[in-house]
């Protein structure tokens, strides 16, 4: 087929404009609806992912406000208990599986290829597939909620409450299958990230020159790969118990209710770090830009990321301190849960040192990072508290824990995420966000957050359990609950300002140049927003902060073809160029494969035979996906 082509075009034969034209012709998406469905551009898919995830954040936030309305006064009748249980289950599942994990992965999908200096993510079609599957899972869950069939068993779905005997109807099945959808998409992205980082880094970007965000995303991807099979196993066995009568969780037939908790938390604890590590990477990447100094302690920071990743698999039992496990085991898990504070401490101290040595510029992303440090340290310290078995027996499943994990998840992950949005918004859209609205958003969110969640520590110690839809007027919780409910309005207002700013800036924001913050990493070496091919020429990296070491100049590689989607494959450790590999062109088959997968997964809530019959369309779609079409990308 090579001989049929008129000529092979290499970038060295063209001038700048001609090169850009040729690259756009090869990499650009087809116009129209069809092209939109078929696109495999990592930036387009990541933008969709991010927008979808933020839509789920808004929906989840509205659920939280509804819960606060119900709890504002004792014995309120605003929401009935059945709906309330659905709401808090939806809030937790939605925030964990449809917002936090996907949004962090979406940031990785957007940023990792740009930061390692390549033209697209590895397995771009898998990437498209992953988005469609995620969307289907989200729609399934929310549709169920609208139809009064949402799961009502908590985001942790403990058996036997979620099991066949006590979980009547399809509610728990919908939860379990939503998990399968989102885990499928998460696993796909994890594989892409690992392979992108291992094989597609710009020449010269050896392991010790990888940006910290990319390191964080790499560790996160490994956590996904090792932890998510556990929840897949859990949700599948739950559905099997409910549908075909397996006995995994039936103590009378040799099963065990605690088995669920072990498997769920074996996933559930790493899950927290799947959300938190990317946030840490964001902080380590944004902070140096706003102190105009390289981060202090690159190596300890990388080691801390890896150590956190490894330790996160050794502390799932601290979610089960009150189930009556042997004393010795509990002591071990106390020690390991406490030990994870050490890598967290290393990170905090390295950031403080960076701040101390640099010249801080107080722009909005920087404000969110300072807010993050203040808030996350509290969350980390309350984490140390609940890691202690005796302490935990008093606060487990109370509002103290609610306060703790909101400090960790909002303070520890959402603040850095908002910083990241303010920081990379100019790169993603080509426009700056408003500094004034940004400050309003920050202060409203920061103050609103603390006023909302700090009193919950006290409520927990005063004996208020979690997941209650109401409480009696005789109990001394009314005042604080009202206060918390009012404060949550302020927090919500902060997010409202943020969303207004984001939408407004998309259209009216001042134009951003290539590198508005004078940042050191490669994503700022291309135009804002980046073209479909990311970089005109693949950069060659000679330094950890390539844009600072040689201001105004970029060393690049030449000799890539432009008539097919071509990128460089480099070695794992040294990033020496190995080959010019092609990247898959766009295709609609990932979309059809996702539709076929969705049909199979939803059908399988009703009949086990769906696994057999539903697999056939999936197989057909996958064959269509991989069957060669004679495109230049298939040459070798």
């Amino acid at each position: 087929m090579v001989e049929q082509r008129l000529s092979v075009i290499a970038d060295t034969d063209l001038d700048r404009a001609g090169l850009e034209r040729e690259l756009e012709k090869t990499w650009g998406a087809q116009p129209g609806f069809w092209g939109m469905i078929a696109t495999v551009d990592h930036k387009v898919i990541a933008r969709r992912y991010i927008v979808t995830a933020f839509v789920f954040l808004i929906l989840g936030g509205l659920l939280a406000l509804a819960m606060r309305l119900q709890l504002a006064q004792p014995e309120a009748r605003f929401i009935n208990p059945d709906r309330y249980n659905q709401i808090f289950t939806m809030h937790g599942s939605n925030m964990m599986f449809l917002f936090a994990v996907p949004v962090m992965e979406a940031m990785a999908v957007y940023l990792v290829p740009l930061m390692v200096g390549t033209r697209n993510i590895a397995f771009p079609r898998l990437n498209a597939f992953s988005y469609w599957v995620f969307l289907a899972g989200g729609i399934l869950l929310w549709l169920a909620f609208l139809l009064d069939a949402a799961p009502d068993v908590g985001w942790f779905a403990y058996v036997p409450l979620a099991g066949p005997e006590y979980g009547a109807g399809k509610r728990a099945d919908i939860w379990a299958q939503m998990i399968t959808f989102t885990e499928l998409s998460a696993l796909a992205i994890a594989v892409e990230i690992v392979v992108t980082v291992f094989t597609q880094r710009a020449p010269g970007m050896s392991l010790d020159r990888i940006p910290l965000l990319v390191w964080a995303m790499l560790v996160m991807a490994f956590l996904v790969i090792m932890a998510m099979p556990a929840i897949m196993f859990a949700s599948s066995t739950l559905i099997m118990d409910r549908l075909v009568g397996t006995q995994f969780y039936n103590p009378a037939e040799g099963g065990d209710a605690l088995l669920w908790q072990h498997v769920f938390w074996f996933f559930g604890h790493p899950e927290v770090y799947i959300i938190f590590l990317p946030a840490v990477g964001m902080v380590s990447t944004i902070l140096p830009t706003f102190v105009q100094r390289p981060v202090f302690g690159y190596l300890p920071l990388v080691m801390a990321l890896i150590a956190t990743g490894i330790l996160s698999f050794g502390l799932w039992v601290h979610h089960m301190f009150v189930v009556g496990l042997p004393r010795l085991g509990e002591s071990f898990f106390t020690a390991s849960s406490m030990a994870i504070a050490v890598p967290a401490g290393i990170q905090i101290f390295c950031w403080l040192a960076t701040l101390w040595a640099g010249r801080p510029v107080f722009k909005v992303p920087m404000l969110f990072i300072i807010g993050f440090i203040i808030t996350f340290v509290i969350g980390g310290l309350t984490g140390v508290m609940v890691a202690s078995v005796p302490f935990d027996t008093q606060v487990h499943d109370t509002y103290f824990v609610v306060a703790h994990f909101h400090y960790v998840l909002i303070g520890g992950a959402v603040y850095p995420l908002l910083a990241a949005i303010y920081y990379w918004f100019p790169k993603m859209t080509g426009r700056m966000m408003s500094e004034i609205l940004g400050r309003w958003a920050f202060w409203l969110i920061f103050i609103g957050f603390h006023l909302t969640f700090f009193p919950m520590h006290i409520l927990g110690l005063q004996g208020m359990p979690r997941r209650i839809y109401t409480y009696q007027p005789e109990l001394p919780w009314g005042g604080l609950n009202l206060f918390v409910s009012l404060s949550s309005v302020m927090l919500a207002a902060g997010f409202l300002v943020f969303f207004i700013d984001a939408v407004r800036s998309c259209v009216h924001g001042p134009k951003a140049g290539e590198n508005p913050w004078n940042a050191p990493t490669l994503e700022w070496a291309t135009s804002s927003p980046p073209p479909s091919y990311n970089f005109r020429s693949i950069p060659v990296v000679e330094d950890r902060n390539p844009l600072w070491s040689r201001p105004g100049e970029l060393t690049v590689a030449a000799g890539l073809r432009t008539d097919r989607r071509e990128l460089l494959v480099t070695s794992v450790v040294e990033a020496l160029p190995h080959a010019r590999e092609s990247s898959a062109p766009q295709s609609v088959w990932p979309f059809w494969a996702a539709i076929a997968t969705s049909i199979m997964l939803i059908w399988s809530m009703f009949s086990a035979w769906a696994v057999v019959w539903g697999s056939m369309p999936i197989a057909i779609a996958l064959i269509g996906w991989f069957w060669p079409k004679g495109a230049p990308e298939e040459e070798s």
Partner: protein, 327 residues
């Protein structure tokens, strides 16, 4: 009994510490509260120290040039010192919690053994005795002697629940297919509220109970009363209520010892009139609240297992009178 009734308004008017880990009145709760204070104080100091470092780092003047590497050495030392301090503190807290756990270990001498069977959404308590005839059942309320070790055997007959009386001890789950044990020991007489702390379905919010700690003599007296079969009601209305109770759906689910009511799916009502609350801590026990509960349990506690039994107003009055008479 009179004392109980006198104190009733006190507990129901919500005196602080009714159900609070900070208002510790039991042996283990006191140990736990001390540990909580120690850890919270240590952590607060750590947080203040980190904040001091943060603000110093943010606000200090004379900044070195970015390429100046003379600051690297002291920074390295400072970070290493801070990490070492973290390790020391973490180790200290681990040791402290280890010793607290040891202090909470099982005790050899037990004076009272209570078997708890949690179910959606109430608590069944059985006071065990070597002679089975002396064992008796109550619901959503236990009495314990002050200063004595009480062993609580925890079982669940449906989903997972958690037994938690914060003023007396930390919580412990009740898991179907397993049995857990908890020791309670109240150091002061009083009323301690407990509540289910593991999400157990629709009415998880209304699954409370009361622990009444009283001195040995009062406790023995209460125990003797509970063990006895209630006498025939004297009031005519209550007597009529008994007839209605036995003829209608009530007796299919509830037991009243000494009568033909032997249902087992609802709480044992043998001495329901002596209890402080009804509906698993939902309402104060009075003739009026009993009537309200029996008239429409599904509005007061939607989804609970007690059905709405159609009764005439007169029947309702009679049954409530009968319930109240069962002291």
């Amino acid at each position: 009994m009179k004392r109980t009734l006198l104190l009733l308004p006190v507990i129901l008017s919500g005196c602080a510490g009714v159900q609070s880990a900070l208002d510790a009145q039991g042996q283990s709760a006191i140990l736990l509260r001390n540990l909580i204070f120690v850890i919270v104080i240590v952590c607060s100091i750590v947080w203040l120290a980190v904040m001091a470092m943060l603000f110093w780092a943010l606000l200090r003047r004379d900044r070195p040039k970015p390429e100046d590497s003379r600051t690297d050495k002291p920074m390295q030392t400072a970070v290493i010192a801070a990490v070492a301090a973290t390790v020391v503190i973490i180790t200290g807290l681990t040791v402290a919690s280890f010793y607290t756990t040891r202090g909470l270990g099982p005790v050899p001498d037990v004076d009272v053994t209570i078997r708890v069977r949690a179910q959606q959404w109430w608590w069944q308590f059985t006071y065990e005795d070597r002679e089975p005839v002396h064992a008796f059942q109550t619901a959503n309320e236990i009495h314990i002697p002050v200063g004595k070790n009480v062993r609580v055997l925890l079982e669940s007959i449906d989903v997972i629940h958690s037994f938690w009386v914060p003023s007396l001890a930390g919580k412990q789950d009740l898991i179907p297919g397993r049995e857990n044990v908890l020791t309670l020991r109240a150091e002061k007489p009083g009323f301690y509220r407990g509540q289910c702390a593991e999400f157990c379905g629709l009415q998880h919010s209304h699954m409370a109970f009361v622990v009444i700690a009283e001195d040995e003599q009062n406790y023995r007296q209460w125990e003797a009363t509970q063990r006895a079969t209630p006498s025939e009601p004297r009031e005519a209305e209550a007597l009529a209520g008994k007839a209605v109770f036995m003829a209608r759906q009530c007796s299919a689910c509830h037991t009243i010892r000494g009568t033909q009511a032997t249902g087992i799916s609802g709480p044992d009502l043998t001495h329901v009139g002596s209890r402080m609350t009804i509906g698993a801590g939902l309402m104060e026990n009075s003739r009026g609240s009993l009537a309200a509960w029996i008239a429409d349990p599904q509005t007061l506690k939607p989804g609970n297992s007690m059905p709405l039994v159609p009764l005439s107003a007169q029947e309702l009055r009679q049954i409530s009178a009968y319930m109240e008479s069962l002291k």
